[in-house]
């Protein structure tokens, strides 16, 4: 034995909500000026962002997200729920039991449910229809907290891991899927709440950030890709695994919107908008967040 390395997790102290002030400025400006502003070439990478990227590279090599993938894989095959069956017959859009590549092709329209579903919504649907879980029970505590890990989170992480290094290809073949994209775009741009915010306030142009986090511009292909990557993600602060469902929920909370329902079609529409914008990029698998 010649060397031992231990990695400790460093929590980062936060700065203020920067995006808020910037967004207010943007919304006040007439649309023409805002458009001109967006066209400005992206500034050179600031040292903080560069350091973050280096840090990510080191951490991603052995991401704890893999632990959750392993847990989800076991859960997928285990006979669970009141019906005592596994999820191996669950159809994620590519046929019953096909997990490989399913994550990068969701959200999609599922004719059996007659609805648009993202990965987590579909897994919840399978847990309810196949295994006999109650949807209301699953929606009660849907997000990781402390040492509590909701089943769908581990399952989504497993399913997402099965699409590692595959091309993002969120389908737009069906009219329902194209309608979902349009709806998602509308939700994205919908300004409301006590702060008169929309998703677009923070994610509608380049160079925005919250605290030290650079925010992706989801209206662009690269930005949407950046937003798609790294989810489900292992949050080093607290050591929690989170999915896109949580991300969407928390974004709405930060906008001071009413809390969206867990795994609703609205979230699926929003994720369709983001996913389709990111189409064509390689998905790198479950990732790591600050």
């Amino acid at each position: 034995m010649s060397s031992i390395k231990l990695r400790a997790v460093v929590a980062l102290s936060g700065l203020a909500l920067v995006c808020a002030a910037q967004a207010a400025q943007k919304e006040a400006a007439p649309p023409k000026k805002a458009a001109a502003h967006a066209k400005k070439p992206a500034a050179a990478k600031d040292p903080v962002a560069a350091d973050f990227e280096k840090f990510h590279e080191i951490m991603e090599e052995d991401s704890p997200a893999e632990l959750f993938e392993a847990k989800g894989a076991e859960m997928w095959k285990a006979k669970r729920g009141p019906n005592h069956v596994s999820l191996e017959k669950c159809n994620l859009g590519l046929g019953p039991g096909v997990v490989k590549g399913a994550y990068v092709q969701m959200p999609r329209y599922f004719a059996d449910a007659g609805q648009m579903m993202d990965a987590e919504r579909r897994i919840v649907y399978c847990m309810v229809t196949l295994q006999g879980f109650k949807e209301a029970d699953l929606a009660k505590k849907p997000f990781s907290k402390g040492s509590y890990l909701p089943d769908p989170v581990a399952l989504v992480t497993y399913v997402a891991g099965q699409s590692r290094n595959m091309k993002i290809a969120v389908p737009q073949k069906l009219p329902q899927e194209r309608a979902a994209y349009k709806l998602g775009e509308e939700v994205f741009n919908y300004r409301a709440g006590p702060w008169d915010f929309s998703c677009a306030s923070c994610h509608g142009e380049d160079g925005k950030r919250i605290r030290t986090q650079n925010l992706p511009n989801i209206t662009t292909k690269e930005g949407a890709n950046r937003a798609f990557q790294g989810w489900p993600g292992y949050r080093m602060t607290g050591g929690l695994m989170h999915t896109l469902q949580w991300r969407m929920n928390d974004c709405f909370r930060q906008q001071r919107f009413p809390e969206p329902g867990y795994a609703t079609e609205t979230i699926a529409d929003l994720l369709t908008y983001m996913g389709v914008n990111a189409n064509g990029y390689l998905y790198k698998g479950p990732g790591i967040k600050r």
């Binding site: 031992i4 390395k5 400790a8 052995d62 704890p64 632990l67 847990k71």
Partner: protein, 103 residues
């Protein structure tokens, strides 16, 4: 039963590089819950790595190790196809052993 570990072992230039991810709370016993009650300590105390029945790493851990710990070490002698076994024991007596083949 505790959750599985992820072990990766790669042989290179006569040395084996081992990377281990363990799923553990690593609770220090210093924190309090929402009701103000202390959260009891729960952490890995002993880690052992064995190769062909020989201990190649033995460590005593404490509460300063992070949640879901990551451990990386190298040892001499191992080669491709050999097995490496990692075991941890925590302060509650819980135990987990996992094995990996050296690549």
């Amino acid at each position: 039963m505790p959750d599985p570990m992820r072990i990766r072992a790669i042989a290179k230039n006569g040395e084996v590089n081992v990377k281990v991810l363990m799923a553990h709370e690593m609770e220090t016993g210093q924190r309090k819950d929402a009701a103000g009650k202390p959260i009891p300590a729960h952490f890995i105390q002993q880690v052992t790595a064995t190769w062909q029945g020989k201990v190649v790493l033995s460590a005593n851990w404490g509460t300063a190790i992070a949640k879901n710990p990551f451990l990386e070490f190298t040892f001499k002698g191992g080669k491709k196809g050999d097995k490496i076994q990692v075991t941890w024991t925590d302060n509650k007596g819980e135990k987990r052993s996992d094995e990996a083949t050296i690549n």
